[in-house]
């Protein structure tokens, strides 16, 4: 009985050894494999980071756009080096630093404390296409507020024409204008391009675009350019 128990115990121990020995080997190999994978991943990560660092400068340059904000200065936070400029009723933010060149209205060099709220400024610098809509100002110039564009364009149909005075009536819907065309350049669509024409080519019912300055208080327009869009006779 004791002899048989000894045999069984030996058998059991051998079976257990044979069973678990390979598992232990597999487990140790797996740990080694995971380490190798981790090392490869780390190496790959380092290589990618190196490439990204190398191209980072080029990418930043590509993302920067040379831009200008032109308008009246709304606010100036000197401690933060920040300006808010009213660009056609839209407030735009610009940042300046000690390297920013500032030029006054008489082309003299000025300092940030010389900036006055309400001044018309041309802030030139770089805008990050992928970042916030904030200009990194490199050069800031103060100038006189540009005069508004006084000339307008008018589309209409030609009415009465006075060839002697070089004046004609322009009907634009309900609006009627008297166009003074003495100093105006006249043009029409030629075969390939816009061609120069003469006042005599203008005919009643022609559709025209007139560029000129409206006189105050009346329907007169001092024309500087007239373009015959479509002619009644089909010449133009």
């Amino acid at each position: 009985m004791i002899k048989n128990s000894g045999k069984l115990a030996t058998l059991f121990l051998l079976a257990m050894f044979a069973l678990f020995a390979p598992l232990a080997v597999v487990a140790s190999e797996e740990v080694t494999g995971e380490d190798e994978d981790q090392q490869k991943a780390d190496q790959l990560r380092k290589e990618v980071e190196a490439i990204l660092a190398e191209t980072d400068g080029q990418e930043s340059e590509r993302l920067l756009a040379k831009r200008a904000f032109c308008g009246n200065l709304v606010t100036h936070k000197e401690d933060a080096g920040q300006l808010v400029i009213d660009v056609r009723d839209e407030e735009k933010v610009g940042q300046y630093d000690e390297e920013t060149v500032m030029v006054g209205i008489d082309r003299e060099s000025i300092k940030p404390q010389d900036l006055e709220i309400g001044s018309y400024v041309v802030a030139m610098g770089y805008l990050n296409r992928s970042g916030p809509d904030e200009l990194q100002i490199k050069r800031l110039v103060i100038q006189e507020t540009p005069a508004p564009l006084v000339k307008e364009s008018f589309f209409g149909q030609v009415g009465d024409i006075s060839s002697e005075e070089k004046v004609f009536i322009l009907n634009q819907g309900e609006n009627v204008y008297e166009v003074l065309a003495g100093e105006a350049d006249l043009s029409y669509q030629g075969r390939d391009d816009v061609a120069a024409g003469k006042f005599d080519q203008l005919e009643e019912e022609d559709k025209v675009v007139v560029v000129g300055q409206r006189e105050d208080g009346n329907g007169r327009v001092e024309a500087s350019k007239i373009y015959i869009f479509a002619s009644k006779t089909g010449d133009s």
């Binding site: 045999k7 030996t10 058998l11 051998l14 079976a15 257990m16 050894f17 044979a18 069973l19 678990f20 020995a21 390979p22 598992l23 597999v26 756009a65 040379k66 831009r67 200008a68 904000f69 032109c70 660009v87 056609r88 060149v101 041309v122 030139m124 610098g125 770089y126 490199k138 050069r139 110039v141 100038q143 540009p146 005069a147 508004p148 564009l149 000339k151 307008e152 364009s153 589309f155 209409g156 634009q172 043009s187 669509q189 816009v194 559709k207 675009v209 560029v211 500087s224 350019k225 373009y227 869009f229 479509a230």
Partner: protein, 148 residues
Amino acid sequence: MRKEVAAAIFLGVVLGLLAMGGFWWSKRSSQETSEFVTPAEEGENTPETEEEESLSEDSDVFLEVESPDEGAIVDSEEVEIRGKTVPEAVVVFIYPEGETIVTADNNGLFNGTVVLAGGANEIKINAYDYQGDKEEEILTIVYSTAKL
């Protein structure tokens, strides 16, 4: 006794191999599963189809300035403005130094040259179609030779 020991060793080796084989097989099959992407998962990564731009035949006049951008800084006195509008529209540029009239081609593409003054230049761009419908854009371009 020898027979029993040999049988035990054989049995142990067989059981061990079976266990190792089973473990290896299960691990491999799990890896293979993770390499496949189901169509549903694939669909999640498919970029959305862009809506096709369609222009109505009876659309009103429009005006798109393609270049230069608003607030662009140029270092030459003349700049060419390019854009798109309705075919054969008349495009008028009004700027501090003068005005220019051009016509769009059959595809609605236009370009015209404007003369700039030093500093900020506001340019008014008007496009007219044959019926006189108008579209307007204002563009500010800065003419400066200063190095930034």
